[in-house]
Symmetry: C2
Subunit: 450 residues, 2 copies
């Protein structure tokens, strides 16, 4: 497989073909590319050019290109298409992708687009999906699946399946339902390959099948599917009727998005922005966390102002405030990150108090090692042992407290059903800066007896 490479030459070659309206050449060229690659190409073209390409190719391919496109590019291209053209694209897509695209359309044209979809069954399925929350099993599932009735014999079953499979990109499992459409079990494709065609469905299906409720959270579905190594999972409604199916490729996206979100929160960025978003969007995602940091810094300044009398005698104490604040922040972020990740991966065992004791011991160990280094350096540099001792001892205490705060806050937020990921990052660093500096000056005052 020669991997696809997006080059400037390629883009300008395509732009040339578009400009000269050499449709046959353009079509031939696009035939060679995977739809995911064309989606990448489209985001490098002008909107008018991308629209030209979409109009030129078969909707069997362009629907996949649109589904794969970057959201912003897709929005711009769809803006150029008529309701009838959009409906033609949705016709070719699986219901879940079609519903996702409809959710992005301006409200005033949704009605029209849906009414233009020729396959009324498909349209109905899409409309069904629109009512589910994006972050729920219902929001992830597609209506396309292969199901057979438990009362059929394998012959009927194979015939029906052939027809159904035409509409399903990947079959995975064959679900078995009763006359009321309630999920009873499954037939694996492997069974199909290795079982005689004379058997009855009732006698061969596997009655045990994992399923999720349509209202289950997307994150939870991802956990279940990756824990049990499932490639597809059926979705049932409140009374157990089979309503849809979620496939692993959608779950891969959920996992990536979840990880990206947590990573950004840890770095003090909200709202899932990307490098290519506008300066205004990026500012909205970043500024609130910086303002939080600013107030933290003002708090730290106010605390130091309260120890003003020290500055004449022990100016050196003030030189070390950034060090103390940085260490408090770093330790807090480390310990909270470990907890946040443990919570996300569901592998935190034991009680809160055990966690805190462990973190205390850990922070104490790290703190003592660092304090010895700091003591040696400061003593040599400034020559006053008592100041050096005061600074180093404070560092130990500050590190232990920072570790405990970093451990406790995400556990506490989790218990309150708040996403603990917001705790790692500016929130922890800021509060630890303030606590750290406060503790530092207190202890210094105590030891130096000012």
């Amino acid at each position: 497989m020669t991997p696809f490479k997006l080059t400037e030459e390629l883009i300008s070659e395509i732009q040339q073909l578009i400009e000269e309206k050499r449709n046959t050449d353009l079509r031939l060229m696009m035939q060679e590319f995977h739809y995911a690659d064309i989606a990448e190409i489209a985001s490098e073209l002008e909107v008018e050019e991308a629209t030209y390409v979409i109009r030129l190719l078969d909707s069997e391919k362009t629907s996949d290109i649109l589904a794969e496109m970057h959201e912003d590019t897709r929005e711009a291209v769809l803006n150029n298409l008529t309701a009838k053209e959009i409906a033609g694209e949705l016709e070719e897509l699986d219901t879940d992708d079609a519903a996702d695209i409809i959710n992005e359309l301006p409200k005033e044209i949704v009605q029209e687009v849906i009414s233009e979809i020729e396959d009324k069954e498909h349209a109905k399925d899409i409309v069904d999906l629109l009512r589910y929350d994006e972050d729920s099993a219902g929001g992830l599932m597609a209506k396309e699946l292969v199901k057979v009735n438990e009362n059929w014999n394998v012959l009927t079953c194979v015939k029906e399946m052939r027809a159904q499979a035409e509409n399903v990109t990947r079959v995975h499992s064959i679900y078995v339902v009763d006359d009321e459409d309630k999920l009873k079990g499954r037939l694996s494709l492997k069974d199909l390959l290795t079982t005689s065609t004379k058997t009855h469905v009732k006698d061969v299906y596997i009655p045990k099948v994992d399923s999720v409720n349509v209202n289950e959270k997307a994150e939870e579905v991802a956990k279940i599917m990756s824990k049990y190594d499932l490639e597809a999972i059926p979705v049932v409604d409140e009374i157990g009727r089979l309503v849809g199916r979620i496939t692993i490729d959608d779950i891969v996206d959920v996992i990536r998005e979840e990880a990206d979100k947590d990573y950004q929160l840890a770095a003090g960025i909200s709202q899932g922005v990307e490098a290519d978003d506008s300066i205004w969007e990026l500012t909205r995602a970043r500024l609130p966390w910086l303002i939080l940091g600013l107030f933290g810094g003002l708090g730290a300044a106010a605390i130091m102002g309260g120890f003003e009398e020290m500055i004449s005698k022990h100016a050196v104490l003030f030189y070390f405030t950034p060090l103390i604040a940085a260490m408090a922040g770093n330790v807090g972020v480390q310990s909270s990150a470990i907890i946040v990740q443990g919570l996300a991966n569901d592998d935190l065992k034991g009680s809160v108090s055990n966690r805190l004791i462990k973190e205390m011991l850990l922070a104490l160990l790290n703190g003592l090692i660092l304090a010895v280094l700091l003591l040696a350096f400061t003593w040599v540099w400034k020559g006053t042992f008592d100041t050096a001792l005061a600074i180093s001892l404070s560092l130990v205490v500050v590190i232990v407290v920072a570790g405990l705060i970093g451990t406790f806050i995400p556990l506490f937020l989790h218990q309150r059903n708040i996403d603990p990921a917001i705790a790692t990052g500016p929130f922890i660093t800021t509060s630890n800066d303030i606590f750290g500096i406060l503790i530092y000056f207190w202890i210094a005052k105590l030891i130096l007896g000012i």
Copy 2:
């Protein structure tokens, strides 16, 4: 589906059954659980108890339990088993999982375990896999797959496939090879369901098939599979022979591990530790970054020492050093996180200089807003306009420089083929602390004319 819940009652019930050696009850109970759930249970049991359970159940199930177990639990349990017992478990596993387990075994017993595997073909396949790097396509792939010769007719083909499918958990695609085992294309299962049995393989196979080289990096394989929505990808050697297959469930693990690693690096933790690792392991992962932070803090202290003469006249400047350092750190982390993520997701377009200009404008906008807030606060609090102005102006410059450093460093590391993820976190915060404080005092000196 009633989700599995690990409770203390369940654990003690199981422990009771083990203690009283009520094997039949224990077997019946375990029958109800999924192997992934039993793997979770095992990590809550004593090692001897977990070993008891593994010895009691059929190796068809226990092999999956072992494969799913937490590494530490598995290591302890395998330690209790004989080479022959371990070989019995490996017999049941797919080659990729078996190879992963062998890689964890102590070197001195590997030979013996392999020689105890009865299915010599299986043993040979496992040994083949052992030579690949864990983070490469070869390290991820399994030998199990379904392949047919292009010269067969569909009848032979179906017969052969049935036999092969017995050993393959999920069939996905049927790969087509020539007489030299070179990958030619694929037959989809769907085609199989919808094509007449009289056709020849040569006439129906799809000649276009994505594949990866056996030496491709795991991360790259993950990108390809999720970009092209593949659920399995064949792996070929240097001359195009089909040597294995990677399935999406392994890729889900790669994505999770990659995300966890980046998240930890951003938080200043190396080596992929977990909350339940020992204090010693956690210290090794955390301490180096803290020492880096310590040196940064010492650097900052040394810089302030160089501006000692200021402290008598403008002590207030020193109160704001934690604020300046914190803001420099926060902005640096924000901008580097955006770049790191853009690089990881392959969606950074445009030149380095464009990125830097954009970040400069963004930082300038954020910096000005924050500086106005800071100016107002400091002026009111301290009443001296020139000091307030010096602090606020410095803040703007510091934020812009921090943003540029945060943008530039990951781009630079990436260009040098170093993982840019190490840049977000203590590395950036520490260097930005130092630069920030240096710039701050320089500008203050300039403005206040000291």
